[in-house]
Amino acid sequence: MAILIDIISWILLLAGSFFCFTGGVGLLRFPDFFSRIHAASLTDTLGAGLILIGLMFQAGWGLVLPKLILILLFSAITGTTASHAMAKAALKSGLQPQVVGSVKSESGGAPSNS
């Protein structure tokens, strides 16, 4: 049983490291600021999430587990908000995203049913 938990957490840690590394490479490879944010959010969501969940399997029951959950929660919320703030500040300061085109939703999003 203990070996099974160890194996699961090792797989999660390795997968998390892989996603973090992918995000780091994307940060260097992508051509413009707005596409680099996507690479950075890759490490923020699944990279951090998988590593922290892998650590949770190692932690067992105790005070360490809720602390790891708190770190996961905080990093998800603050990472999102920081990405949005950076993108908005860059746009407001006049940095134009390099895009191949733009589309507009004609239907006006979801039909509100109430």
Partner: protein, 156 residues
């Protein structure tokens, strides 16, 4: 009063999780600090249904599960784009209408878009969100409005 009580319970739980010391003196300090923070929040006038959306308690867990699945799928797609190189991306700007009725619903929607890799909310004017999508497929997914419908349902 109800929201103050909910805030006190949440803060106490936070303190208990982070402390690990449970002798009477420390618990007295916890009581004092929680009451002080609730007093400060009361002075700042931030204790209301917007800072503590308790009406979402029962609807939001299923949405979180769905969002977690979406985040994993989007992560794999973006990781593939990273390894295929800069030629595989086709950045698009998407303008979508948010169908939510409350400000809180719109915040949940915009933050969910940003949390999913491959799409980022970069601006908001009224009910129109400007979204930067990494590829055409992600922009097309965005326009289907699946997430918008689900957030509208969470909001109730």
């Amino acid at each position: 009063m109800f929201y103050s009580l909910a805030l006190s319970i949440m803060l106490s739980g936070f303190w208990l999780v982070n402390s690990g010391h449970y002798n009477p003196l420390m618990l007295f300090f916890m009581l004092v600090s929680v009451l002080f923070v609730v007093f400060l929040c009361h002075r700042m006038d931030v204790i209301d249904g917007e800072s503590q959306p308790l009406n979402l308690t029962f609807t939001i867990p299923t949405y979180w599960l769905w969002l977690a699945k979406e985040v994993v799928l989007a992560n794999i797609a973006v990781a593939r784009n990273v390894w295929q190189g800069p030629e595989s991306i086709s950045p698009m700007l998407v303008y979508v209408k948010a169908g939510q009725k409350t400000d809180l619903g719109m915040v949940i929607y915009a933050n969910s878009i940003t949390l999913t890799p491959g799409t980022i909310t970069i601006d908001q004017q009224g009910k129109q969100l400007t979204v930067h999508a990494l590829t055409r497929e992600m922009a097309a997914d965005m326009l289907k409005g699946e997430m918008d419908r689900r957030v509208s349902r969470v909001e109730g």
